[in-house]
């Protein structure tokens, strides 16, 4: 199958970087023999490659490293003065967290202790009396239920 011009141009580009395998090379050469436009494109590319060459290596200025060092030193000073590094604060934060836990635990202990304290004896009696509604029997004889029952049996009470 005949190679199209777009593919041929791509292959010219690959050839310039020695990336085209031999089969592709043969097809490309066959295309170039018959296509004037691609021949021109190929010539143009070879010419361009020559033109845009930068022949010699140029050297940076002699104080090149000194400038980098200045930059590093400046940044280091700035960092020392203004920077916030969370890893530096890690031990402090850990201690603060432990202290907070202790304070919270102590407060919780005191607060629960207050609630769980046994009530005083009078308070307990009053609460018991109220709960049992003992006043409901206030008009009854001030004796035990057993004594009242015995007296009822003996007919002393009507």
């Amino acid at each position: 199958m005949k190679m199209r011009c777009k593919k041929a141009k791509k292959n010219i580009s690959l050839t310039m970087d020695s990336r085209l395998e031999s089969v592709g090379q043969e097809k490309l050469q066959a295309h170039l023999r018959s296509c004037l436009a691609c021949q021109n494109w190929n010539r143009q590319q070879l010419w361009l490659r020559e033109q845009i060459k930068v022949p010699e290596m140029i050297q940076p200025s002699p104080d090149f490293f000194a400038h980098i060092q200045n930059k590093i030193n400046k940044t280091a000073t700035r960092q020392r003065l203004f920077s916030f590094n969370p890893t530096m604060l890690r031990p402090i934060l850990l201690r603060a967290a432990m202290l907070l836990i202790l304070i919270f635990a102590a407060w919780g202990g005191f607060s629960l202790g207050d609630r769980l304290d046994a009530p005083a004896a009078e308070t307990a009696a009053a609460v018991f009396s109220q709960t049992m509604n003992l006043n409901a029997y206030a008009d009854m004889p001030a004796e035990s239920f057993g004594a009242v029952y015995n007296r009822l049996l003996q007919g002393e009470l009507q």
């Binding site: 970087d17 494109w41 490659r49 290596m57 140029i58 940076p60 090149f64 980098i68 060092q69 590093i72």
Partner: protein
């Protein structure tokens, strides 16, 4: 005679804050990095500033280098990304190509030497007219002699993307320079 330390050893010392090792590393690679950037910016002062920025990044991020690629590849990647960012920043102030008429007038008035210089300048401007990634791929392939595989790693793209970038760069460059070539001025 003491053996020279390898790049990785020097980098490890740099990561530990050894400025002497860092200085050695910079002196060893400064020319290559500077020339790569110079070919991209075509401006000596900008190239110097950017190359310094690249080595500053080496100092700053030495600890993060995990050795998954060669040190030189990592260095190239830093340089390429610095160049691409530079173009991004400079996008607001584009450098226009000279008008063909202006160029012709100047060259008619000057001698052969000036003509060559002007031609170089025009070619540089044409190169600057290329999209940044295409230009960088072209520089890495044509001037740095990098293989497609290396370019792919440095630019963090696939090999077929490198092929396309280079093909388009050449196509665009030819299109930019075609009018002048037709006129016989190039």
């Amino acid at each position: 005679m003491a053996l020279e330390k390898s790049d990785l050893e020097l980098l490890a010392l740099t990561a530990a804050g050894d400025q002497a090792a860092f200085a050695k590393l910079v002196r060893k690679h400064q020319s290559r990095v500077f020339n790569l950037i110079y070919r991209f910016t075509r401006d000596r002062q900008d190239a110097e500033d950017l190359a310094q920025e690249v080595f500053f990044k080496v100092w700053k991020y030495a600890r993060t280098f995990k050795g998954q690629s060669a040190f030189s590849t990592w260095l190239y990647r830093l340089a390429v990304n610095t160049c691409l960012n530079y173009r991004q920043k400079k996008k607001n102030e584009p450098e226009p190509l000279p008008l063909l008429g202006e160029f012709a007038a100047e060259t008619n008035a000057a001698g052969a030497e000036i003509l060559t210089r002007e031609r170089e300048s025009f070619l540089n401007k044409a190169l600057n007219g290329l999209p940044v990634r295409q230009k960088m791929a072209l520089i890495l392939a044509n001037f740095e002699g990098k293989s497609y595989e290396e370019i792919a790693v440095i630019m963090e793209v696939s090999i077929s993307a490198v092929e396309t970038l280079l093909f388009r760069a050449r196509q665009n460059l030819a299109a930019i320079l075609k009018p002048l070539k037709k006129k016989g001025e190039l």
